[in-house]
């Protein structure tokens, strides 16, 4: 069954997309903000990792915590320094502000690192795999990515469900004025939401940097895949985002199998099909 291997590869790829999508989902859920710079943040994380790797000559995995912290702080500052005000000005203005940020990041990276593709070398793990059968081979790294993705989503779920701040996130997502009446400082909360989102996308960015190459203009692709995963899965559902990522991943791998280079296109077409026939996504949140 040669398709089995493809489907498995697709599922594992979906895990990676879910990492990108989770942060997006969180930010939209809490703040109703569509962040057009999200993919570029992921690329930025990969470059930060690259800088650390070049300076300290370590395996990219060791840079993860550092990159996550840097990105989280950066996210908090951008949110409180600009995006909170952008959101005050209006949803249109907020989107446009994030678009401005996206272009700024892309071009800063271009100036800083040139347009050449770069990669993160994680060593042996990139090439080793488990052979399940004649046709089915699972790479260690994709498996690690998927496992990480599930852990992150699980952690996020726990955070939102069981912690004081997580509840504050959900309350603010439901009704931000009522949340203020509870003593929740929504400016700080939005900053924290963005910080979380960027910490998660940092993981995604580094992993994708290991898995494949990246360049300053790679951000928009990541963004598009993340959005497609969120919309396919259904707005408001965290695990739906994982499923959305998987559907997208499988579509892309199968597409490439049909004809090399068609993967992304097939992914887009699946997305558009869902948009056409089931716009609320596969697991839309209960609408009250």
């Amino acid at each position: 069954m040669v398709w089995a291997n493809d489907i498995i590869q697709g599922i594992l790829l979906g895990g990676l997309y879910a990492l990108f999508a989770a942060g997006l989902s969180l930010v939209f859920g809490v703040m109703r903000l569509v962040n057009l710079a999200h993919g570029d943040f992921g690329v930025m994380a990969a470059y930060i990792s690259l800088v650390i790797v070049s300076a300290l000559d370590v395996n990219p995995f060791y840079t993860l915590i550092m990159v996550m912290i840097v990105m989280a702080i950066f996210g908090y500052l951008v949110q409180r320094g600009l995006l909170n005000f952008a959101m005050d000005a209006g949803p249109l203005q907020a989107i446009l502000a994030t678009f401005g940020i996206a272009i700024i990041i892309q071009n800063l990276l271009l100036e800083g690192f040139t347009a050449n593709s770069k990669g993160l070398d994680a060593g042996v793990i990139e090439n080793t795999s488990i052979r399940l059968s004649d046709q089915v081979v699972i790479g260690w790294f994709p498996l690690l990515t998927m496992v990480t993705s599930v852990i992150v989503l699980f952690g996020l779920q726990l955070f939102l469900g069981r912690t004081r701040m997580g509840r504050a996130f959900r309350a603010t997502a439901d009704n931000q004025r009522a949340a203020q009446l509870m003593g929740i400082d929504n400016r700080h909360l939005y900053g924290m939401a963005m910080a979380f989102a960027l910490a998660i996308v940092a993981i995604g960015g580094v992993f994708i940097g290991i898995r494949t190459t990246f360049s300053p203009s790679a951000g928009p692709f990541r963004l598009i895949f993340a959005y497609e995963a969120v919309i396919i899965g259904g707005l408001g559902s965290l695990w739906g985002t994982l499923v959305g990522g998987i559907v997208l991943g499988v579509a892309q791998v199968l597409g490439d199998h049909i004809q090399q280079g068609w993967g992304m296109l097939v992914g887009h077409l699946v997305f558009l099909a869902i948009l056409a026939f089931r716009p609320q996504g596969l697991f839309a949140k209960q609408v009250q």
Partner: protein, 232 residues
């Protein structure tokens, strides 16, 4: 020094002015009702106190401290809790979670989740239910309970009887004595004049954004209320 002092408050929505030179003093431990016709400015008054609306002119002083410049979330920390008109429960959160969020400000005091369940036994049976599935009366109880979770010194209740059957309203008001006994000052806006007069120590009647009448229920005659309410 009164717990709450409103000095010459004028405020509104954009170009529409809703309150004109309102002066009010609420003492600690008092129960005070604000009555008046629709659009008289009752809710605007409460929203100005809790911070959802900023004053254009005049001062809001709580426990001697000027709070007019503070956003709503900071005022909660000082001890002002507003239970909104329309309840505003968090629909996707359970009853228990709604109460937990109510305690976000971490103010200590008499009120806890157990105490709230004691106050409103009907909520106790609904702990794990998502708030959107509750009936109007249950949501109102939840909103009040949630408002108490911050152990406020001043509880602002905005139209708790709105949209509820009289029987349900009775049950809500049955909980009031316990709230008052715990030392909380209560300022409520009430459509139902009879209920307001029964419950409150003092009553203010608003008319078109201005105070038309103020006094204790025992002092005021129904003719005076009628005149103040309708502006005749």
């Amino acid at each position: 020094m009164s717990l709450l002092e409103l000095d010459d408050i004028s405020t509104g929505y954009g170009r529409f002015q809703a309150l004109f030179n309102v002066n009010l003093r609420i003492e600690e431990g008092e129960t005070h009702a604000v009555i008046g016709a629709n659009g008289a400015g009752k809710s605007t008054l409460l929203r100005t106190i809790c911070g959802l609306i900023r004053t254009d002119a005049g001062k809001v002083r709580f426990d001697g401290q000027s709070v007019g410049h503070l956003p709503p979330n900071k005022r909660v920390g000082l001890g002002i809790s507003y239970v909104p008109e329309g309840r505003w429960v968090f629909p996707s959160l359970t009853v228990a979670e709604n109460l937990m969020v109510g305690a976000h400000s971490r103010r200590t005091g008499l009120w806890s989740m157990d105490k709230v369940y004691e106050l409103f036994p009907l909520l106790s049976r609904l702990r794990q239910r998502q708030a959107f599935s509750l009936s109007g009366g249950e949501q109102q109880a939840l909103a009040i309970g949630r408002g108490l979770m911050s152990n406020p010194r001043l509880l602002l209740l905005d139209e708790v009887s709105l949209g509820l059957a009289p029987v349900v309203v009775e049950k809500i008001y049955e909980a009031m004595p316990a709230i008052v006994k715990s030392g909380t000052t209560v300022l409520l806006v009430e459509q139902d004049v009879g209920q307001a007069m029964k419950f409150a120590d003092r009553v203010t009647c608003m008319l078109e954004g201005r105070q038309a009448l103020e006094g204790s229920p025992s002092e005021i005659s129904s003719e005076e209320i009628f005149a103040a309410y309708f502006g005749v």
